[in-house]
Point group: D2
Chain length 333, copies 4
């Protein structure tokens, strides 16, 4: 018998992707999935792509989830704290929400409002020292989707002294699934197809998380909603330091990583190549005109940016092969 | 050591999807992949979604392929015959092209032109008797993508006497990957986005294949190019016979099938739910105004319509579990 | 001073397109536009594409509208009757809703529910005799979007005795703006991009309107939501009668029409070529296999299918050049 | 009789948009349109959206064009010089290519290769002093599409001393029509839908033009291909100077402009709202974290970025109302 896992908040896009990955996982047995307003429905009413999976959504409460060895929380920001506190200590938890990502209560309140629930182990395994910390934790805070994209691009460059942590400039575009499944007029297909729309300019909540994980001192971030269901493309620029080679710094950081690929020289990442996978593609250059380092990072916001990342963390927490149940390869075209 | 497999014609979209599936298959070892003008290139230059797969494309000749236990041919129509003839008898072959699908040489010449290469076992396992035939064959002709979509919808209704084989009317829309990877002006993103464009109206080559496999006597088919990379949605209508229930006929035909799902009553298939999977979704009703049966069928043209179907056939040919290396679940949104 | 016009229900997609057309119309002066929940907002808050138009939305009541010489009603189905009854008799009205399209109260109740408001002159000028009727009317019921697409394809063929009015089969795909602007989960960009989704299969409310205007005796219609903001593509098939030539029948019907174009032989309509215009593109053939006539019709559901059609009707009602303020040419790519 | 105009290079996307605009222009009479390999074809074979326009494409030579009062050149970069030299001196010319935009022959050769053809009046009317120069010129070099988007955002801020001309960082995404109509594999719909793909990172040829027109001293530009046919969204960031207010500087620069709209505070431009129009939408803020100015600029690359801009220039050259034949309003959704 495998490891018993449950998903709280299974009706959203990250929740659906988690169910897809868990249904195909060799070691995890999906024993429960819960929802709020859609509790009681068959999973295929909510996620028609899961036709063939026989599962009814339960209601999101601690009792339904406590039989599991591992619970994934895919709840709206601010709702994980209360539920997590009611789960037995022996149940391992990966939280896909923002509640436990930040070390600073002040930063939490600034960006999310309300009280800070606490700080869990930050679940980005490719950061130095992160694997051991995750392996030793029962509670892990999964990264934000923009944050994962940008941190993987920036952290090694600042750590290696190649990029100046001051005055980092980021423009990152996301597919619409990153905006969630609540019906809002500006997210209608009629509005988003054929459109690029910036939002939260200079005020995105992932800035705090990115600075915490990379050591960036100041960072301007412009998020843009792009006309595609999945994918994030981040362009990260920083002033070059010490004449360092940014591509070499990325290669050194990720040479042994199964999911982070520094592409062949001159080949730039694009989002479609990562769709449906847990991979992140990276490339870097030095801009001929300004001398700035430009790094481009691409991943699937529901994959390495959310559900795939969560499964990778869970694999580490249970001592499984890190790639179990995950795909390195994108579904393209 | 696993079963050694090779892919001829790996640079196209069906070839790329085959490589993705084979790279994750538990029993097949991918030993070679070949191409024409892109021979000699690393696979990731051609399929960037396969970053992490270390493979260089060889040239498409019998010598490169003869070491394999199984060869997939994903070549342009008309090119499989010559190559297949040069492969050793002991090598099993699945042809994704049209060369060996038709029993009638006259129909072949009418729709494809040139001489007919021959007839292999038709590789749609869900047809009555097909599994045994495929299991006993060394050479299998994979279905066409439109053909698979339409045959799965229509064959059981004609067989059960519920649908009249005369005057079947089909309108089917396909994502652009079905039109291949050769650069043509009308397939540019600028042209296809925001556009629905019919083509080969009343003259599509799959009509012969569909009639052969379903027993339809006359069939009008209008194919439409749709603004999405993957997926086929077919609306199949036929006159109702004997007051039969089309949904029951579909359910009876597919009750034990892992990849063909008759959806809950009133729920209609849509393509995105099948994307990246080997599943086909079906629903049927009787039109209130005309009394015609309407069946809607959805699948991924590169999955159940091409590469996934080919792997399913290969699994049967080697006595493996039919679902090995394939996903029932779509990647959505 | 020009003709004073007002738009009731200006916050939806058809309403926005009306405002765009009216703002550029040489004879109509836009004096008021009203909305329900968005009354009081500047028009650019609701329709950012109208930046440069200085207009605040009023509330939808008869008082606001009665100063106009002409009122366009772009309200949800069932709401036009009450408002129209309160407008002065001297105010001309074009209703973009369904309330006054049907002659049969029984059909109205079957498809829309509730009581039938009445029957106005049917506003499709290209139908025989329609121009004179529209010119002589103060109240005109604009066509439905699917209805316009299909009627323009089918009416001349039945009238000329080329197509059998029995057993017409239609599959028609629409861009998402046809589904309106109310936020619903299945209309989110994440859901509709990459997807084709049938709905109201065999039960669409436009069937009654199409039969009334064409003389079709029975008609099976499958509507499909397509991943694009605008456009309808209808494939209309019917049994051929008397060996007639469907393309010649279309050409004869539309030879003098400025907005209906029968394309060069062998060239098939596609939606993008009509986007933003008031044009409808048509082509027809006889299917080689079944002998059925296949007609394909394309138009912009917000143009010739709604707002453009309404302006064309209004031009006729005021004795203006029929093309005033309208474009024959699509915005493509 | 109106002003006789001709279009050389009418088969591409900018050429098609020019034909659409000129066919509806109140003062310009379209007397000829030429092409290279498609000379001799009816215009609707090349631009099906122009159904209803009776015009056959001529061949691109001086004789065909010399009867015009005004010639638009929409040729591949590097081909305008030779043709322009052969046109009579009395023929006014607007060149949509890059040949005559740059003052520096050295910069021309660096970015485009080959010899520099010369320098014409730079055709961006909203720049200080530009209108008078354009009105007095017989030869005008239209802006590049990225260049127009970025210059309109940046020039007033540097001129007003609000933005530091050093270390400007730009990320700009374009719809695929900006990449032209030549069939290339990476521009296929299957590739671009669902994808964001950077290219020419740090090496785009418009950098020289932007620096020339804005006074920017160093500028890093990352262009990205976005999954939509039309539109450019540019995010332009620069260090703030003197505590200035970037939004006020934009408002001061554009208060009287018909086509450049600084949106209401807090409302961000998005591309769809400008589609089909000659408008540019702008917004600016100061980033809370980095103190950088962030300006976002949106326009239609075929409108204000190419054909619309060219018509605006031509209107000025002939003393016509600047908005003649152009729309301020976008076609949305």
């Amino acid at each position: 018998m495998g490891i018993r896992v449950a998903v709280a908040g299974a009706s959203g896009y990250a929740g659906g992707e988690l169910l897809r990955l868990l249904a195909g996982h060799p070691e995890f047995d999906l024993i429960a999935a819960t929802a709020h307003s859609q509790a009681g429905q068959h999973v295929t009413s909510v996620h028609p792509q899961l036709a063939g999976l026989d599962l009814t959504l339960g209601s999101t409460d601690a009792a339904t989830l406590s039989d599991a060895d591992l619970v994934f929380l895919a709840l709206p920001h601010g709702q994980s704290g209360t539920l997590a506190a009611r789960l037995p200590a022996g149940v391992k938890v990966v939280d896909l929400g923002a509640d436990f990502r930040l070390e600073s209560a002040e930063q939490w309140t600034r960006y999310y409002g309300g009280g800070h629930a606490g700080t869990w182990t930050y679940g980005l395994p490719e950061l130095p020292g992160a694997r051991a910390a995750i392996a030793g934790s029962d509670r892990v805070a999964n990264t934000g989707c923009y944050a994962a994209t940008i941190i993987l691009a920036l952290a090694p460059l600042i750590a290696a002294g190649v990029a100046d942590p001051e005055d980092v400039v980021v423009v990152a575009s996301s597919g619409t699934s990153g905006a969630g499944r609540n019906p809002k007029a500006h997210l209608l297909g009629s509005e988003v197809m054929g459109d690029l729309a910036p939002y939260k300019v200079g005020a995105h909540q992932h800035v705090a998380e990115i600075k915490q994980a990379t050591g960036a001192a100041s960072l301007s971030m412009t998020p843009v909603l792009a006309p595609m269901p999945r994918g994030i493309l981040a362009t990260v620029t920083a002033k070059r330091r010490n004449g360092g080679d940014p591509r070499e710094a990325l290669q050194a950081a990720y040479v042994d990583e199964p999911f982070v690929h520094v592409l062949a020289e001159g080949v730039w990442p694009h989002t479609a190549a990562t769709s449906g996978s847990n991979s992140c593609h990276l490339q870097a250059t030095v801009d001929v005109d300004s001398g700035r380092i430009i790094v481009v990072s691409a991943l699937d916001n529901l994959g390495k940016g959310a559900a795939g990342q969560a499964v990778q963390n869970a694999n580490i927490m249970f001592g499984l092969p890190e790639t179990a149940g995950l795909s390195v390869f994108g579904v393209a075209p």
